[in-house]
Symmetry: C2
Subunit: 226 residues, 2 copies
């Protein structure tokens, strides 16, 4: 049975009852992170928390209403559907003050996937939240289906971490790696629009190649002879 | 010494005297494609053609003014700098009728890289060129520096091929593979905005990780157990 590592930051997975949230939460809980599932309704969050505890044979995943979850966390990861993004961000302004918000939102409609126009969802969140919150864009390109792989298996998907604050980006890279993903600093927050658009590309790849796991990896980061 | 394979389409590399064009042209000539380098000035195109012939020990790379090059080619690949994109496309309207234009343009400024807003450069080209030309977006994410690798070595970079015409996309995938790249159908022409934006991400990765070869690969296309 995994135990909580008290030296790791507490992670809230907001909107964590959907497709993407539970998969991320499970991997981080398995790696010893204290996890709080957030949802608009506390009961739904608690149901997901109970399921995750049962799956992992642990008891330290909690479920709370989104704002309460964010208040108790060091890092909050927003995995709501894109139509709920703006309202969710507005409701979290106080709870997130002084903290890191990781925005995984991709404003792409599964049935009619089109790359969205700038500014990126995390840039919009930053605008609403102000300077008191460090917003990081990440995890948009991680398919929910890939997170279903066995725990401990490396995931063949890379995370593009976009942030104006390098220290916050570094903390999120560490979090991604703890969950079995490779993660890279991919530039300022505005670059997150590319990760959003990649989800439209991934849906297109899935349809054309008959899979549910299309994603992207970063290549060419090892220095090469000139 | 390589010889021309007369069964392959003739390829014009327009704006082919820059950073990206010669690298692509060299790989395709090496694979037996008849290549015509295009430039606004025929003399510049001829200089690049002479250099490529010398490098490869061949004599079948030609240099012509852009429109003349497009007229003689089956498939034209546009590798101009983004500030020259609109004028180049307008000047090519007649020469490209009934043919395929592969647009590799990424409207990103190297000194101030920001992901551009839709519509994509290839979508804009399609709008100018009309239905008589089949426009395909591709090769934006292939770093010029990666193309300098030894001929015959596989290139660690994937090509996102975006097109509204699947047959045209298929021909471009074949062309990319002949040049040593993996290439995938990544959805409709509008998705090319993502490949453009990826060049801003690649510039950010290059700066942060101290390389010149950052690129992306597609993952997860092999069917997985559910």
């Amino acid at each position: 049975m995994s135990t909580v590592n008290p030296h790791l930051p507490v992670i809230a997975v907001l909107g964590g009852t959907g497709k993407e949230g539970p998969g991320l939460a499970m991997r981080w809980a398995h790696a010893g992170y204290k996890i709080i599932i957030g949802s608009r309704q506390a009961e739904k969050a608690q149901t997901t928390a109970v399921e995750l505890n049962a799956k992992l044979g642990i008891d330290f995943v909690e479920g709370l209403q989104n704002e309460a979850a964010a208040r108790q966390a060091d890092i909050s990861v927003l995995t709501v559907v894109y139509t709920a993004h703006e309202a969710a961000v507005r409701s979290l302004k106080d709870a997130l003050r002084g903290k890191i918000l990781v925005d995984a939102t991709a404003r792409v409609d599964f049935r009619d996937p089109r790359p969205p126009a700038p500014p990126s969802a995390p840039s919009q969140a930053q605008e609403v939240l102000g300077d008191g919150v460090r917003v990081v864009g990440a995890f948009q390109t991680v398919p929910a289906h890939v997170l279903k792989k066995k725990l401990g298996e490396a995931l063949d998907t890379d995370v593009l971490v976009c942030a104006d604050d390098l220290d916050a980006a570094g903390q999120v890279i560490q979090l991604a790696e703890a969950g079995g993903m490779r993660a890279y600093y991919a530039g300022r927050l505005e670059n997150a629009i590319v990760a959003e658009g990649l989800t439209a590309v991934m849906i297109s790849l899935n349809k054309h190649y008959g899979v549910r796991t299309a994603s992207i990896a970063v290549t060419g980061l090892s220095p090469q002879p000139a």
